[in-house]
Amino acid sequence: MHESGEIDYSVRQLTRVEGEGRLTIQLRDGAVAEAHLEIFEAPRYFERLVVGRTGDEVVDIVARICGICPVAYQMSAVHAFERLFAVALDPEVRRLRRLFYCGEWIESHALHIYLLHAPDFLGYPSAVEMAADHPGLVERGLRIKRLGNRIVALIGGRAIHPVSVRVGGFSRAPRRAELDALREELATALEDALETVRWAASLPPPDYTREPRLVALRHPTEYPMNDGRIVSTDGLDLDPADWPDAFAEEQVSWSNALQARARDGVPYLLGPTSRVVLAGDTLHPTARAALEATGLGDELRTSVFRSIVARSVELVHALAEAADQVEAYREPDLPLAPWTPRAGIAAWATEAPRGLLYHRYQVGDDGTVEHAQIVPPTSQNQAAIEHDLTAFAPRVIDLPHDAATRQLEQLIRSYDPCISCATHFLDVRVEGR
């Protein structure tokens, strides 16, 4: 406690998030004054590493930013270069890329729902203790995740940091028979995912609601992954390359990650909730029916703790779409389209499991990168997380430290933050009372 009457409340090490961070809450005269997510994981300088590299090299390098969502980094980068170089993709390559992205959503969402977030709702410190009492639940999550990894490996050459993506397509397209082998597992996993939605919808959320600004891609005919325009709940409608027109990154003193905000300074929320709200009409019919059966459509928008339901609905979507894409696939005539580099700005945004991921590369005459900007979803969600923490903390700050920490961490985990991506996070501290 400071002489000024300020008290610091701290969660010194956030658990069950990807990466390392800390939460500090400052209390002034008993009221919550500020909440800071302190991302102290070291900066990783990927934006510098890609300078002087060609598009194909960039696609390989950015895959290594994250072991959970490498496909997202590859997709934002490759689409950016392909747009600048005016590459005409074989339609089956486009199909494969959606299937590739489905694989990543499946493995990432299953990991977060069952192994990182579920223990919060069931009262366990971690999935280890939960596995002792609910082995079937954990096994279901692992089973779904494994299939997602298998899809990524089949298309990308390996499950972690895939290697087959190239500007113009893939270095190798899978054979029809290889995808056929996924059918039975996809059907089983879809049933698991439908059960996941019913189970997630039955989990009681803490009492806290708000009306956030939601931002996501939206495409007229398909659920947003690789393609679409940036839209928001307050009427934004932008080409994905024009992200800087509406948003900007800024350095804050307490974090090694840049924070992104809308140009008007208002925080915004990315991820499954935003996508389901803004593009729910393009969900696969099976996923849309599963969402409608929960009766939680409106509550998803206002309760951050219901993100586990949105994520589960997207799990159904990804599995159902993956099954459709496998069914329709034929081996591409041109797995790798020819292209010629040109100077200019290569920019694009795709939907990582955690939300919109924006890449912008300034490309020189020789086709190599002169300057890069990579804006991951966690750095965009960080301001919204702090805004929610400031509003939610007064409800729990008088609880014993462990109980308060659990609920604050549950809120943070609702965003599925990836700190390693954003440094390019939790330890909780309360300061002043």
Binding site: R64, L111, A127, L142, I160
Partner: protein
Amino acid sequence: MTAVRKVELLVCGDLLRGDDGVGAAVVRGIAPDVAEMASVRAVGQLMPDDLLSQAGPVIVVDAVHGPPPGELVDVDLAEVQHVADSIVPSSCHALPLPMVIGIARHLAPGPLEGRFIGVAGREWEIGSDLSPETAAGVGAAAVLVETWIRQFAAGSVVA
């Protein structure tokens, strides 16, 4: 009669990230006659199901942060959670190693038998080779893994 049990060797790490690829270097250093007693699998991110896919003993080889570069870590899988604060696997795992092993222990039909062998690293940059210090530990690590493979392989007596 004495049966030779098949040992599963799970290799973590990324060959393109400097010392992160030390696990693969360790496996290459194992004598062929000993390597025959084990099935080797590159797992990328270690997940609980990787530890449940066979009934026999498992040896996990990974690079670690914490000790001086090149130093070896040899821990019973059941004890990993007790050393987790001082030794952190460097590989890009979706879940912390103690959590992976803890979940696997609850889901396994019987006791989880195996070792975690770590080699401390120094350089993790993309495209760099093994650091001299870490490379210097590879030979001793291979001998250690050989010792455990032999011990696990001979550890079962079938009537």
